[in-house]
Symmetry: D2
Amino acid sequence: MTDMTNQSFDLAHLGHVEMLTDKFEESLDFFTRVYGLKLSGQDETSAYLRAWDDYEFATLKLTKADTTGVGHIGYRAASPEALERRVKVIEESGYKVHGWNDGDLSHGRAFRFEDPFGHVFEIYYDTVWFEAKGDDVAALKNTASAFEGAAPRRVDHLNLLSSDVTEFKRFMETCLGSRVTEYIELDNGRIGGCWFTVNNKTYDLACTEEQGGGNARLHHVTYATDQREDILRAADIFLQNGVHIETGPHKHAIQGTFFLYVWEPAGNRVELANAGARLIMAPDWKPIKWTQADRMKGQAWGLKTIESFHTHGTPPVKK
Amino acid sequence: MTDMTNQSFDLAHLGHVEMLTDKFEESLDFFTRVYGLKLSGQDETSAYLRAWDDYEFATLKLTKADTTGVGHIGYRAASPEALERRVKVIEESGYKVHGWNDGDLSHGRAFRFEDPFGHVFEIYYDTVWFEAKGDDVAALKNTASAFEGAAPRRVDHLNLLSSDVTEFKRFMETCLGSRVTEYIELDNGRIGGCWFTVNNKTYDLACTEEQGGGNARLHHVTYATDQREDILRAADIFLQNGVHIETGPHKHAIQGTFFLYVWEPAGNRVELANAGARLIMAPDWKPIKWTQADRMKGQAWGLKTIESFHTHGTPPVKK
Amino acid sequence: MTDMTNQSFDLAHLGHVEMLTDKFEESLDFFTRVYGLKLSGQDETSAYLRAWDDYEFATLKLTKADTTGVGHIGYRAASPEALERRVKVIEESGYKVHGWNDGDLSHGRAFRFEDPFGHVFEIYYDTVWFEAKGDDVAALKNTASAFEGAAPRRVDHLNLLSSDVTEFKRFMETCLGSRVTEYIELDNGRIGGCWFTVNNKTYDLACTEEQGGGNARLHHVTYATDQREDILRAADIFLQNGVHIETGPHKHAIQGTFFLYVWEPAGNRVELANAGARLIMAPDWKPIKWTQADRMKGQAWGLKTIESFHTHGTPPVKK
Amino acid sequence: MTDMTNQSFDLAHLGHVEMLTDKFEESLDFFTRVYGLKLSGQDETSAYLRAWDDYEFATLKLTKADTTGVGHIGYRAASPEALERRVKVIEESGYKVHGWNDGDLSHGRAFRFEDPFGHVFEIYYDTVWFEAKGDDVAALKNTASAFEGAAPRRVDHLNLLSSDVTEFKRFMETCLGSRVTEYIELDNGRIGGCWFTVNNKTYDLACTEEQGGGNARLHHVTYATDQREDILRAADIFLQNGVHIETGPHKHAIQGTFFLYVWEPAGNRVELANAGARLIMAPDWKPIKWTQADRMKGQAWGLKTIESFHTHGTPPVKK
């Protein structure tokens, strides 16, 4: 692994994910009524959603489309200067650049670019802080809005698919200045998966090898809950609401995250996760390598990874 | 509040606290058998302790003394260059400088200096990564050592007392480059308490106003558990072992941390805490102000702060 | 203590409590929207409420009144024969008898009688099993209705006040055939409190000494949650909704129950509780005696019992 | 289903299980050091174990043998009279009777008999209450002994295998006076599994169809934890100690129990379970029927039941 340690990060954190849905109303109902996000606003094509303690206006932009998958991924820069530094690096990187756009309801101007697999990223600094009103004002002034019973607290990470994880890793290190915390090295020498972060979180983006023949696909988007118990409770809520539970609750061996994966109505996979008190504090963290043999043991407590987890991504691959 | 945002941090994280005890054997028994830390090593004067997932050799240095309180506080720098930058700033700051020392069993050379109230700090980069052996090797390679049933996962923060929190804040911002996330503003205009961080944690050091007439005193040292349930269980363990439970479990209004405070045998206050999924992700976080009226409401769920919490610190003040 | 062991019980369980409110709309809003009960039905004077896994149509009958407190307490008999046996015992007991009534929306005919302090009890066998419809049908057929996110699961117990707990104990043993599991013996020889059960639950009714000069007053009504975490979450929900949190979450020394007490809008005290896996299995259980000195230690983890807990009951005492 | 409701029970609760092991030292180490039981005593052939809040001297009798599986199952009667009533019923039942034995370190004389599949039962009233000494005395006098960090609280149930569950059900209803709370009806009309109780617990004994060709085999023995979190924590403890985790943590659809199954060193399957606040309170409970189609859906949150769960029992079947 390239040594990515001891650097400072220009990007502060994952800001938002634009998710495409061809069942907009059903997806919006799922995210607000069942999954527990709040609707901050809507424009002609999109609903802007956030968890109750996300400070930005939106961390999930749900957009009407004739397909599913990810529209774009937004990272917020640490400062205006850091944004400019990062833009310059990207412009000189040789990766495909889309250039500046005006932003939307949730943030100001943003610089867009693309990874070699077709996923569109943007970085921005100017953002819209969410301002709670009325009953949505939090009882405690250090939380962004009213606590909701069994809902996730903040956006956590997303997982993208690519046909060449090593190449994707080069993109993440170059364009986002991300650091690898854990990765899978297959017996054939390829990297099977890679977990990245730009801060003390254990990861904010993961990339795993595309095994379904698709391009620019999404594996899943994840929000974080305060406690593992919230996820056990959510499992009952999903069950009660007829949501397809793909796998979990269980604990990942990689990253040690307690997880639950479901499919929202349009087929996009979404996760609820809890990392406990785990953070990456060491500035010289040594990326953890997992071998193919390690992976054969299943997840932490022995659950075998189910087949659809390896093949299902959005949008579906046309046959 | 001074605007401390949009800066990058030279310090990576709180590394360790040296705690003094005049009941060394009892304190060591408490920390290893009841509180759940692991003993990494010992030298003539000190025991080196860590939580099961702390990556450094020691995060608590328990030292034989004829008094109690804090010996020194160590922060790890983000890189050798960041360490040099920070040393230069401190040398030019006018604060009292002790200079370089050779380190100890747990880390390499460190630069020491002192706040105006007598608390000694050190910063260092070279450290000793803990290497688990035998039964202590973790089943999952991404954790530092074997999981212990009901024990805290990593060092979290400490709380110091000072007679002038505004002055202490200037010290922290100047010497450590820390950022304020929340603070108390008393009706008399003084800052009653201030919570600092050098990373995405909500705080790694707090300072509250000394009300007992002491100098350089410690309020408490805290380790983080994965779940709130670990703290409820720990309360039963403390009860069973005759430990003095001062207050909790309950939830702080400030910072929203779930807490439990006990006194170790020599009288130093130690806490177990869980912050849920809360992190400070915004690079332009606006410090939260709590008024005296806010504080009158008690903790989050209404518990009145007990008197000893305002007056007990270590070492005790001689009358 | 009288030996109440080795007997079989004619009564199966606490069935329901009728709670009086002089703020009917506010109370109903609280119980359905905040506390998490479900509305089974309404008649002219009352709303019939139940927790999501209560099998009967109602476990809380909320009744419009010009006062607060308890209307009556209903226990379900184990069989028609057991009901007849019990009625005969009560008729011969000398306690005040109200006689048979026709029941209400939630159960068939019931036999009413009264303790020496004015609390009205009824026993019945014919009941109305709740039948869930539509979205309220549970995903798992072994639960009574749809799981609700952070809501209590079933009715648990109530606590009444009386000026002579020893006399109340005689009433409970005689009329209900209840068994004492734990009790407080004051230094003056009086029983300060007594916990009763007619099954394997640790208690379904408690009686504590009236210290406010009232008659026939209610101390609190309690529902049980599946996990302690549900209670911590509920505390945040109560906080967010401006509910008066009186004390908790904490763990009782007596009975070891994890508790949280709040006041509903009309002032009746209600609790959420979790007893963990504790049950009274021993047929020859020896009642646990708590002394006044034991009580001075506070609750399990040291919390001092707050003053209002000793004095507040409903209805309030007129001065 | 035969109507078993409205009856009173002569038996109070499941008292203990005698488990056979051909790896006595390893099994004893597992149960005391990893699974979290306490050793009450030992005689030449057996170790007597209990959970920290079991009131009897032993709830698991671990016996040296040249095989594995269950030695016998003990139920405690509700009174001496109830014991005599039950003995008379059994003597007249036609089932195989072993007669009275003198008991052992944990209880007095017991009456033994046998089901048609070779499982040996005994019923007794005279028992040995556990008396904690020294450090094992509980801090709270209403618990049986000192709280242990991550350990189960009390014995819960066992699961036996039989080639004809309908026949086994007749045995349980006749000899033990048990009540069926839930059962599986296969498409071929046979009962695939049946859950029994003699009190308010949802079940204390389950019987599922033998699919491995064995006789008198044990499927598993289970202890109850206070919270689901204890089971998640135990999973990490089992992982750390190299214990074979067969399946879980997950939630059963049948009975709704949160479960985790592991194999102790000799191969006997043991479970940790948490039923939340669920109890069977209704005296006229209608047994819940699960069809083969229901079972095809997997456990509550969709986990498919793994193959070994259907075939592994102890002792193993000789080929």
